[in-house]
Symmetry: C2
Subunit: 368 residues, 2 copies
DNA sequence: GTGAAAGCGCTAACAG
DNA sequence: CTGTTAGCGCTTTCAC
């Protein structure tokens, strides 16, 4: 038996319940009883009643009535999956907050909300299609199932989509194939003959594209297939587990591409534990959304992942949509590449040196 | 000359402007014109007018009118500073989202917003004291100036404060002095004689407490003062810069406590560049809010920082406050300690070995 | 000290 | 195909 629906308690009900007026109740609950000089006894009775009846103020009512400042509120949101790496969400959040800070004026305030759905199940997210929630959203970290739903469902507010293409929507994407292709090239150039790629079980549009391009480039350039390792999730420990399993089965690799950067962290740990040296035994290239790659030991080569750049594009686009301007349906972002020590080219010398001369510091050499 | 204040455009104005009714305008702007069978020409005219007049829907009005489902919306927020490490915000956000997901019902939906202020300048944040914004908030990463303001200002909504004590408010804190004291003890036990501590220029209540307790314990136990290094910010590069400067001036240390974990990443990098070995030459203990400490090379000993535990406490407290329950004014959280390789005890042997036998793997031994 | 009344902006229901 | 009316929950103003 489901709990009976109980309609929200209003100030009027409290007022009727106590035999006072709604105005009195309101002034008490909004902490205005001092200036209104409500009798302390009344204040107490009202507080007690509100508490026992389970009163919850309706912010829409309050806001609507607040013509004192005539402040209008713009409600924005970032829609993302629970499973998405937090740094990505954090970047978008930060960028949006900065923009909002600049846009805010005395008569316009912004609220930035985050909505999270379970990857692949955005259709189960209730209230997503309500038109009374947001003025505009940034949507990211969806899986193909989500994209399919979104392509059909009519979101009742302007949206900028990050990292995938949805027909009829304003989309900001990584230049297709770039990350996967460059990563493959870097490993090939580093002399790898048996590279592997590791990705999470769930593939977003972006990660699927990276994987496919990596495969394709490798096949085209070397005629071989990469070893494909699949980890349960995107945490370092997931990558570590996947690689350990591969190793235990006797699998060997001399190069590794991790489609997201947190996976690289786990891989580093496993290599260290197994006594596999980077880059002498295995070259590693990752995706650099974390900003930590430079601080790995050895510093990790990254094809940066366009996240930061994508966010930088997306936020102004959202504001343009809010203003009713027309925007390009698609913006492509080419991520920067950072060559660091983890893919230092193998140069076996006469002595068979594993530590050739190589610049040690300041490895933040940006490509081209 | 400031731009003239322009009151918000309403559906009524658009209606009057075009000589149609407000209901017609409304149905078009809310995408209901199909079922209402509005003439295409009218739809176009209304759209054009809305666009040219700069119409922005008032969500409060929409929501208020939406009695179709009688869904009540609870607005929650996380208030944090721009300068706070994103992982901390992310943790709180995630925990709150999970809770909200569970609490949501057909007739109650939640919105989780993030508000950011500049560290130390929360008083400049407009709209913070408006009673028409949030039903409840989690407040974190404030500086002492902010705390002083908050102690006086009457926030018009329930709040849970993370990481500091504000009179009359529900606060969740790290057990005072614990992190600083244990960190000092760990370094002393590792045989350090000249330890240093590094912290950001801006000290929160929490980091100030860590620093003070570290100092105090060291003085008490060894009679010495630590070297105190101050970094510009909390990013790895800031820590790296601070330590490099110290080193360039001829400063030497044999132990390091970093009051936040991102600082440790930078320190690791510098040590590596300078050829300083961890833990043979310098023992390092950090704060473990990142979850990455285990993956450092060598794995970093952390006094975990109570963030995750604090968030776990704070979220239920917030919901209890929303229900009008009374809650304890203060909840203390004792963070776990993870002893790892970075503080492996120095045991100079006859041979002067720098690599004594030590468990290599699975260093996640939790204390007691 | 407190109540009555008005109205914020919007849309559902109904009437043409 | 479109207009009229009513009212969501709240707070402010004014009256007593």
């Amino acid at each position: 038996m489901k709990p009976a629906y109980r309609p929200p308690v209003t100030v009027h009900q409290i007022a009727r319940h106590l035999g006072v007026s709604a105005a009195t109740v309101s002034s008490v609950l909004a902490h205005r009883h001092v200036e209104r000089r409500i009798a302390p006894a009344t204040v107490e009775r009202i507080r007690a009643a509100a508490q026992s009846l389970g009163y919850i103020p309706n912010m829409a009512g309050r806001r609507l009535r607040a013509h004192r400042t005539a402040t209008r509120q713009i409600d924005l949101a970032i829609l993302t999956s629970f499973e998405a790496p937090l740094p990505l969400v954090g970047q978008a959040l930060h960028a949006l907050q900065r923009a909002v800070e600049v846009q805010s004026t005395a008569d316009t305030r912004y609220a930035v909300a985050i909505e999270m759905f379970h990857a692949g199940r955005i259709r189960e997210k209730t209230g997503l299609l309500d038109a009374d929630r947001y003025h505009g959203v940034i949507l990211t970290n969806t899986l193909p199932e989500d994209d399919r739903f979104l392509a059909e469902a009519a979101l009742p507010y302007p949206a900028v989509i990050l990292g995938r293409r949805i027909p009829g929507r304003c989309c900001v994407l990584e230049a297709p194939e770039f990350v996967g292709r460059r990563s493959a090239e870097i490993l090939i150039d580093a002399g790898c003959r048996a590279p592997a790629v590791i990705h999470g079980r769930l593939l977003t549009h972006t990660t699927a594209d990276r994987l496919a391009a990596f495969r394709h480039t490798l096949r085209e350039r070397t005629g071989r297939e990469p070893t494909v390792l699949v980890s349960e999730g995107l945490q370092p420990r997931h990558a570590a587990a996947a690689f350990e399993q591969h190793w235990a089965r006797g699998g060997r690799v001399d190069g590794l591409f991790t489609v997201t950067d947190s996976l690289a962290i786990g891989a580093y740990r496993v290599f260290r534990d197994l006594g596999v040296r980077i880059p002498a035994d295995v070259a590693v290239v990752g995706v650099g959304d974390y900003e930590l790659a430079e601080f790995f030991a050895p510093p990790l080569t990254t094809v940066a992942g366009a996240n930061e750049a994508m966010v930088a594009e997306a936020v102004p686009l959202l504001f343009r949509l809010l203003r009713g301007e027309t925007v390009p349906p698609e913006v492509l972002v080419v991520p920067p590449v950072f060559l660091r020590e983890s893919t230092r080219r193998h140069r076996p010398t006469a002595i068979g040196a594993t530590k050739p001369a190589y610049p040690k510091r300041r490895s933040k050499r940006r490509e081209r």
